[in-house]
């Protein structure tokens, strides 16, 4: 941590720090100074993590630690970004907030998780937040660790020049990460292939194809429908939807022949304009299912996936 009391200091906006740990006890030791400093100064401590980590943090630091309500299986980078931004917007930010997150590393979530990590620097750069990202070392490959080091610069000064320089390189990083690798299943024949379908027909076909599979089907149908409408409105025909039920994960791809979104934050923040102005559909999809995106010679492809057993909420 950057200062003796564990906080980033008053002259600093966002502290976006990477915490690699081996086991919960080490995690508690590593984040302890920052969490205790926040509690001592009466600042909110918010945790978004798997239930065992949340429980351990509360046992060590007390019940005043707040946790985000989402279940572990439903935690997604865009949703966490939205929740921390909401918390800051409604006044929690009167104090310097300590936000501890254990991002869910799943097969399908990594491509957008690393984009979200880069986006945090730009979206929250001027906010007084200690944003501690805890990753279990064994869950990461060496490539993942390197990419995380690139997106976790530690304290980001609020002074304009260094912040701008840093933001520029992070923006390039974010924009360059529309390169999710093609999944192995994509080289196999899909169970469902639709070319330029009406959204209503696509939704019914997805529902039929997923009959008997225990996933949050409503979430997948809504996410696919939103991305299909985006492809039709903003992409280039033909728009092709494919679905693989898979042995452990349902994968849906939506491809169009265009160049993809121009906004590097695509899906990670709501554009929030009037109805139909765009941006919201992708942001919603990112909160409902795992999303990966790529731009290549085939055009722009968005890959939506959900693990089997991901039960609906509520």
């Amino acid at each position: 941590m950057t200062t003796p009391d564990g906080s980033a200091g008053s002259s600093v906006g966002l502290l976006h720090e990477l915490v690699l740990f081996d086991g919960i006890p080490q995690l508690l030791d590593l984040v302890g100074p920052a969490v205790r400093a926040a509690i001592d100064r009466g600042a909110p401590v918010i945790v978004a993590a798997a239930p065992p980590a949340v429980q351990a943090v509360r046992e060590r630091f007390g019940d005043s630690v707040l946790s985000l309500p989402t279940a572990d299986g439903a935690r997604r980078p865009a949703a966490e970004l939205a929740e921390i931004q909401s918390a800051l917007a409604v006044g929690v930010g009167a104090h310097r907030v300590c936000f501890l997150t254990q991002p869910p590393v799943r097969e399908g979530s990594w491509p957008d998780l690393r984009r979200a990590e880069a986006a945090v620097n730009l979206l929250l750069g001027d906010r007084p937040v200690d944003y501690l990202c805890a990753y279990e070392r064994s869950a990461l490959t060496e490539v993942m660790r390197r990419e995380l080091r690139d997106s976790h610069p530690g304290p980001i000064p609020t002074l304009p020049d260094p912040a701008m320089a840093r933001a520029s390189s992070l923006g390039a990083l974010l924009d360059g990460w529309f390169d999710a690798p093609r999944r192995a299943v994509e080289s196999t024949p899909p169970a469902l292939l639709l070319v330029d379908p009406r959204s209503v027909d696509a939704r019914r076909a997805i529902t039929k194809s997923c009959a008997g599979i225990r996933i949050d089907l409503d979430a997948m149908v809504l996410a696919a429908s939103e991305m299909l409408e985006n492809a039709r409105r903003h992409g280039r025909a033909p728009v092709t939807l494919r679905l693989w039920p898979g042995p452990d994960r349902v994968v849906v791809t939506i491809n169009d022949r265009g160049v993809g979104p121009s906004d590097p934050f695509h899906g990670l923040r709501p554009r929030g304009g009037p109805a139909g102005s765009g941006g919201l559909g992708a942001w919603i999809a990112h909160q409902l299912v795992d999303v990966a995106q790529r731009r290549d010679l085939d055009g722009y492809t968005v890959v939506l996936s959900l693990e089997h057993g991901a039960a609906p909420l509520g």
């Binding site: 209503v200 409503d218 809504l222 409408e229 409105r233 139909g276 559909g281 409902l288």
Partner: protein
């Protein structure tokens, strides 16, 4: 028989409000003959209405089993559309409800199971301005059908009206060809309106205009039943929210699926709220 008539045949009966979008006169004649025959068999009083004079209507029904005795007994009525308030372009179509109410009571008092009206109404909505005001009438008509032993078949010639105008009118009917209207805004027994079917970006303009049909009946809140909703996306929810904000009313969603509640929560809507 056209698809919508075939699909709805088994459950067609009192309370139904059907939009039958036909193509051309011969399809209308074929469908009307079938609908009249079915109503007579079900012991309903059948009224057939449209711009055609009575002798043309009689010719149209020639050969349908039971037509002549039904005409003689009063089970079959050739209604003069020009005499109905809804046909008057300068009048308020809402006045037609009182006429239909009296006709329905008379049918029941005469021993019939209800009143079935098969109406060719395309001439009523040719004028675009008239069409917009007619949406309110169709919504009231939907409510009337729900509350009375009345079966309405509103027949619109899609070749005359065009698919877009037909779709807008169709979404205010309880039953319509799915290819024409993917959603329905109608009367509900436990809310102010019900939204059924599938609402996405393709229909947000129709939803916005269909909501205009209920503006004149609005109170401080609009309770919307979603118990038979198939799907709604964020753009349609934003239309509902904007409608509430524009009219200073809250839009209360009843029986909303969990996914709709999640979506509404993400959008931080100002007028829409999910009621449990």
């Amino acid at each position: 028989m056209s698809d919508v008539l075939r699909v709805t045949q088994a459950r067609r009966g009192p309370g139904d409000h059907i939009c039958w979008s036909f193509r051309g006169k011969s399809e209308f004649v074929q469908g009307a003959r079938s609908l009249v025959s079915e109503g007579l068999e079900r012991r309903e009083r059948v009224a057939i209405a449209g711009p055609n004079p009575p002798d043309v209507l009689v010719d149209m029904l020639a050969g349908v089993a039971g037509v002549e005795p039904a005409l003689a007994s009063g089970q079959l009525i050739l209604a003069d559309d020009a005499a109905l308030p809804g046909a008057d372009p300068s009048g308020d179509p809402v006045r037609e409800m009182a006429v239909l109410d009296a006709m329905t009571r008379d049918a029941v008092d005469s021993g019939f199971s209800g009143l079935r009206m098969v109406a060719d109404v395309v001439h009523r909505v040719i004028d675009p301005q008239r069409r917009q005001s007619y949406l309110g009438f169709e919504h009231l008509f939907d409510r009337f059908c729900l509350d009375h032993p009345f079966t309405a078949v509103c027949s619109y010639d899609i070749e005359v009206l065009g698919p877009e105008s037909t779709a807008l009118l169709a979404c205010l009917h309880r039953t319509a060809t799915p290819e024409i209207a993917s959603f329905h805004l109608g009367a509900s027994s436990n809310a102010d309106i019900a939204l059924t079917g599938s609402l996405d970006g393709a229909v947000v303009d129709d939803l916005r205009r269909a909501l205009g049909a209920v503006e004149s009946f609005l109170g401080p809140s609009l309770r919307v039943s979603l118990s038979s909703l198939e799907f709604i996306n964020h753009r349609a929810l934003l239309v509902l929210d904007q409608f509430g904000a524009d009219n200073g009313c809250s839009v209360e969603l009843l029986d909303a699926p969990v996914i709709v509640e999640r979506l509404a929560g993400m959008l931080a809507l100002s007028a829409v709220r999910v009621v449990r």
